[in-house]
Symmetry: C2
Subunit: 332 residues, 2 copies
């Protein structure tokens, strides 16, 4: 197998200079039509493909973005729908001839490596998939001047970093309103961790919408996992049986809650209605199928990518808030 053709080979084949070939490749401005077709033809004949590394070196741009997961046991590895975010980002980038580099910063050692790697400019920017407030990685990235976009508002860093998120408060209000509209009054909430935006703001929305009907006794916290939902539900039941609906901040917690209710001899939705959040993969297939708030995963990822590209281009984009949609199924 002989050497891959370079821009010089193409130039020679087309009878023009390297500069002209480069211009054709990069948009073709200030190139005569003749030269352009000659170059395009030569590219075809030679089977030329631009060398990423060389271009990177010359332009100082990497041509890739990092998809950075910052937690050891991340949602991605529990909730399949979340992987859509990853997939969507990869596709959005592929359309722009860029690539997605997956980085995992679970252990402290990994975090150091990742910080080093990212700061070294091996990627043009970072799609930060983090949720916990305490995350010092956000600071590091900001300090190092690495273009960063967060998925979900990073508590403690509001307004410092561009974000793409769903309207947590409005979403929670909508679900709460729906439950109340169905006649439920003693509605419990299984919230997410209070140091995550989903944990904090969904509870805020719930509380706002409940108004006078809000009862702090009916609030428990989980970590989004199925097991934590089951345990939270158990704690609620232990405290009181005067509950007619449960709003869980994730579908998995809703599933866990339902399992606990079943064991307690309660029927869903007849005795107690249960609603989730995310519209993750299990929502539709769960028995009973879950009523939930759908997160616009595809749009989230594409907006993250375009926002990050804006940041890289030097802009300071406004935070983007996307709407969710209520999906009514059987559980509530």
């Amino acid at each position: 197998m002989r050497r891959k053709p370079t821009i010089r080979d193409v130039a020679a084949a087309a009878g023009v200079s390297r500069g002209t070939v480069s211009r054709v490749i990069n948009g073709g401005h200030w190139v005569s039509p003749d030269a352009r077709v000659a170059v395009e033809e030569a590219i075809r004949r030679t089977g030329y493909t631009a060398n990423h590394a060389a271009r990177s070196l010359a332009t100082g741009r990497a041509g890739s973005l990092a998809f950075l997961l910052t937690e050891p046991q991340h949602l991605l590895f529990q909730d399949p729908t979340f992987a859509l975010l990853l997939r969507g980002a990869a596709e959005a980038l592929a359309q722009r001839s860029m690539t997605l580099v997956l980085l995992v910063a679970g252990t402290p050692a990994e975090r150091a490596n990742v910080a080093h790697f990212v700061s070294a400019g091996h990627v043009d920017g970072v799609l930060l998939i983090s949720s916990h407030e305490s995350d010092p990685l956000v600071d590091e990235l900001l300090e190092a001047g690495v273009p960063t976009v967060c998925c979900g508002i990073p508590l403690g860093h509001e307004a410092q970093v561009p974000t793409v998120s769903v309207d947590e408060i409005a979403s929670a209000r909508e679900m709460t309103r729906y439950l109340r509209g169905r006649g439920h009054r003693r509605i419990a909430m299984i919230a997410g961790p209070h140091d995550t935006p989903g944990g904090k703001f969904r509870l805020v929305g719930f509380e706002e919408e409940m108004g006078d009907g809000f009862d702090p006794v009916l609030v428990e916290e989980g970590d989004y996992s199925q097991e934590s939902g089951a345990l939270a539900m158990a704690r609620l039941l232990e405290r009181t049986r005067d509950i007619d609906a449960v709003f869980a901040a994730s579908d998995m917690m809703a599933a866990g809650a339902i399992a606990t209710l079943r064991k307690a001899g309660l029927r869903v939705p007849e005795d107690i209605a249960v609603a989730g959040f995310d519209d993750s993969g299990l929502a539709a297939t769960h028995e009973p199928a879950l009523t939930t708030m759908r997160q616009p995963w595809e749009r989230l990822s594409s907006e993250m990518v375009s926002t990050l590209l804006e940041v890289i281009a030097g802009a300071a984009p406004e935070p983007i808030t996307l709407p969710t949609t209520l999906v009514v199924r059987d559980s509530a």
Copy 2:
């Protein structure tokens, strides 16, 4: 923010030449102890980080591997445990200072892009996550001379490409043996698609182990999804009620089968035992918890990475077969 330090800056700071710095970075052979510490000290002082692109250009190596998904609705996006494969690969690479590039080749347009991208040498090799026999991408990659390792034996390409897979036949036999050991005789199988290794070989193992007890009437095929499992189970029940156990080729199909059985008024495992395959995330939390074969996801990914690196280094490694382990829970 001033320019990032280069190898020249380090050389100047250490009072040596670029060549010596380069040698220190790349293992430090043939470098005097004095020079080595001087360079290491200079690297620390200047905060030097090697430029990926420049190195890539000079060495001709990309320093990254592709994680290539070749199906539109891939398992990854349905089964969270599968994401462990991705994560494991990313971590195994990070340890070697390489990166993982995620490529999705769902649509035909994407496939063309990906083939182009990969053949262009933007990555050093490909971890191919494909399953269907018909996949022409395997041929393309092989033809283009791109180092490739498959996860699971690609039917129709056996022995042409290095693979890392679980011992499908032995796994299926073990599960079948277990079910028979529990006294079941009329065991049905919900197999995977016959053009996937998991679909084909798990059925082979099942048939082998059943021996004379094998009844083709008790075999149905699904596509690994929960819904397909439910439908397959419905077809089986329509055909005969003389079934005392079901072996599904995936946990999700097992879950679907259980839902169908429930609707038919049958109890699991009292009336019919149901076993799955994968030990995916839902297996442990499902109600009832699934008896299943655990796939060694972490090892699969790390073996894939090391095998691929061997291929890149010029070796022709033997196919690697990993064992699975029987996990007994409540469903069978």
